[in-house]
């Protein structure tokens, strides 16, 4: 079990893990508020200024799984894996334009989730339920994949075991995470995000300077990767094959539409203290996208370093073990593992807020008080994390990866109701619900093929596009047509001024 352990790397790893564990519990007292209220536990009291939000949102969106999966894809196929770069470029103009409006209306009306906003705007609790369940469903596999990130680095430390014992370190890490998230709420990942993000920046800067220096420069790295792809053949290479161009573009657009409506992304944004803090973050957050692009290059460095792995997800850990001294490999692995804790915590909080406000409260117990909401949400955050852990312990990882792929397709189906709703009430709630339902079914159907779940579908021979984008186009068309027929009589709880910033009516 531990006979092959890399002790130096493990000591460094455990030391950093212990540090963030202490921070997670201490965070309860940071910018203290009444943690028995849901907006305090679940949104940090909306007290995070531009700086804290930058660390929190960056730490929340650029997850450990990303650090493993993007280089894995670049290692496997080359240029195509780089779609993460245009994707993370176009999200920030969208953040700048639309999300200050969402922050403003949620702040003014006391909304905590996308479902709250949709209910207020359209007066339709079934649409609220659809948005809420989609968010929870899409978040579950995402949390599970964070665990995959932790497990990969623990394996790279040399830990091995039979059966359930092989998951022992992961289980311990996750129980600790669950406890301090329960106690401190969003304050815990916000505080840990400082450590996580600084560690990731350090490891990336070291990697892009030291590894090329050892491998003969970037020219040699790209040459070695080109050779490896030439040998491998198929749709691989340092540029896109003609047939990959439309999938590349549509994957970037579709992923960007989905990202900020995931519950964990919204939780990060809505916890900001002002709409100006969000706008300033739209300017500063691309720093993480640059880091993500550089992390993608690690996949190419893997080829130059002669790393051969059967599972591409092992390429980053193996590269670090080979290129760096043990203590720095331990540091980098800790960065990845801590990088999993922040998003996993925020995701479980986002899902818990959503379940409490938009599933339990409207359908089971409408008279809930703020205190009862906080109790339920804390409990839900534990249940959600337990569910993710059980998936990793008992179901093949492939299941979580496929499920996550579908999660993105489903999440986009909420885009029309939420984002269009920030600008107009022309669409009716029932029409949006019908569009959502069609989008969910069509998106899932397109992804299914007899052999595997796939991300893209050939609409015409010459036009292959991301399933989520095809499905949401249909979703918008149906929502628009039905809105013409079914004019909505339901009340709109918001007024135009709510979207424009200004002071809150209620806390």
């Amino acid at each position: 079990m531990i006979e092959h352990l890399n002790w130096v790397a493990t000591y460094v790893f455990v030391a950093f893990f212990a540090l963030v564990t202490i921070m997670g519990f201490v965070a309860a007292r940071w910018r203290a508020g009444d943690l028995d209220q849901l907006h305090e536990w679940g949104l940090g009291g909306r007290r995070f200024g531009a700086w804290i939000s930058w660390f929190l949102i960056g730490g929340d969106l650029y997850t450990a799984y990303t650090v493993i999966a993007v280089p894995a894809l670049v290692y496997a196929v080359g240029a195509y894996g780089f779609f993460a770069v245009p994707y993370t470029i176009i999200i920030y103009p969208l953040l700048f334009v639309a999300f200050p409006r969402l922050w403003s209306v949620t702040h003014r009306r006391g909304y905590l989730t996308a479902g709250d906003f949709v209910l207020g705007r359209y007066g339709n609790k079934w649409l609220e339920l659809a948005i809420a369940l989609t968010g929870i469903l899409a978040t579950m596999p995402y949390i599970a994949l964070q665990l995959v990130g932790i497990e990969k680095v623990i394996q790279a430390l040399g830990f091995s075991g039979e059966g359930l014992a092989s998951h022992l370190p992961l289980t311990i890490a996750f129980v600790i995470l669950a406890l301090y998230t329960y106690k401190s709420g969003l304050r815990a990942p916000a505080m840990i995000a400082f450590v996580k993000d600084i560690m990731i920046y350090v490891f990336v800067i070291a990697a892009i300077i030291i590894i090329p220096a050892k491998l003969g420069g970037y020219g040699a790295i790209f040459d070695a990767a080109a050779d490896a792809f030439a040998k491998k053949g198929g749709a691989t290479g340092l540029t896109l094959k003609p047939g990959q161009i439309m999938p590349y573009i549509t994957l970037a657009i579709g992923s960007a539409m989905a990202l900020f409506i995931y519950p964990h992304a919204l939780t990060g944004i809505l916890s900001a203290s002002s709409s100006d803090a969000i706008k300033r973050n739209a300017i500063a957050l691309p720093a993480y996208s640059l880091v993500l692009g550089l992390i993608g290059l690690l996949g190419l460095m893997g080829h130059a370093a002669g790393i051969v792995v059967s599972n591409p997800q092992d390429v980053v850990p193996q590269l670090f073990l080979k290129m760096f001294p043990d203590w720095f490999a331990g540091f980098s692995f800790a960065a990845i593992a801590i990088g999993a804790l922040v998003p996993a915590a925020v995701m479980s909080i986002g899902a818990a807020n959503t379940f409490t406000r938009n599933v339990w409260k409207p359908f089971v117990h409408p008279a809930m008080t703020g205190g009862e909401e906080a109790v339920l949400a804390k409990l839900m955050s534990l249940i959600v994390k337990l569910g993710a852990l059980l998936v990793i312990l008992f179901v093949p990882t492939k299941f979580a990866i496929d499920f996550q792929l579908l999660g993105g397709v489903w999440m986009i189906q909420c885009f029309p109701a939420i984002i269009f709703g920030l600008y107009t009430r022309w669409f009716s709630g029932w029409a949006l619900l019908a569009g959502w339902a069609v989008g969910m079914v069509v998106g899932t159907y397109l992804a299914w093929t007899p052999g595997a779940w796939v991300p893209v579908h050939a609409v015409f021979d010459w036009f292959v596009a991301y399933n989520g984008l095809i499905a949401v186009t249909l979703n918008v068309a149906i929502s628009a047509l039905l809105s013409l027929a079914l004019r909505s009589e339901a009340p709109d709880a918001t007024v135009p001024d709510d979207y424009l910033g200004g002071r809150a009516i209620q806390a």
Binding site: V85, V97, Y218, G219, L240, I245, I249, R280, I283
Partner: protein, 57 residues
């Protein structure tokens, strides 16, 4: 003006056929890679410009 500034980085980032080449290389990087990496800080500058423009109004 604000929307135009924000649109530019999106359009360029999605104009994939324009940058899907190896040449011209820079510091050993194929164009495909260095162009997209360079576009990230440039996009931030465009958003910053939009922000300043909005404040001036």
């Amino acid at each position: 003006m604000k929307y135009l500034l924000l649109l530019v980085p999106c359009v360029v980032a999605l104009a994939t056929p324009l940058y899907n080449t190896v040449e011209p290389q820079l510091f050993g990087f194929p164009f495909f890679f260095w162009f997209q990496l360079l576009l990230v800080p440039l996009s931030a500058l465009f958003i910053w410009a939009a922000y300043l423009g909005e404040r001036r109004q």
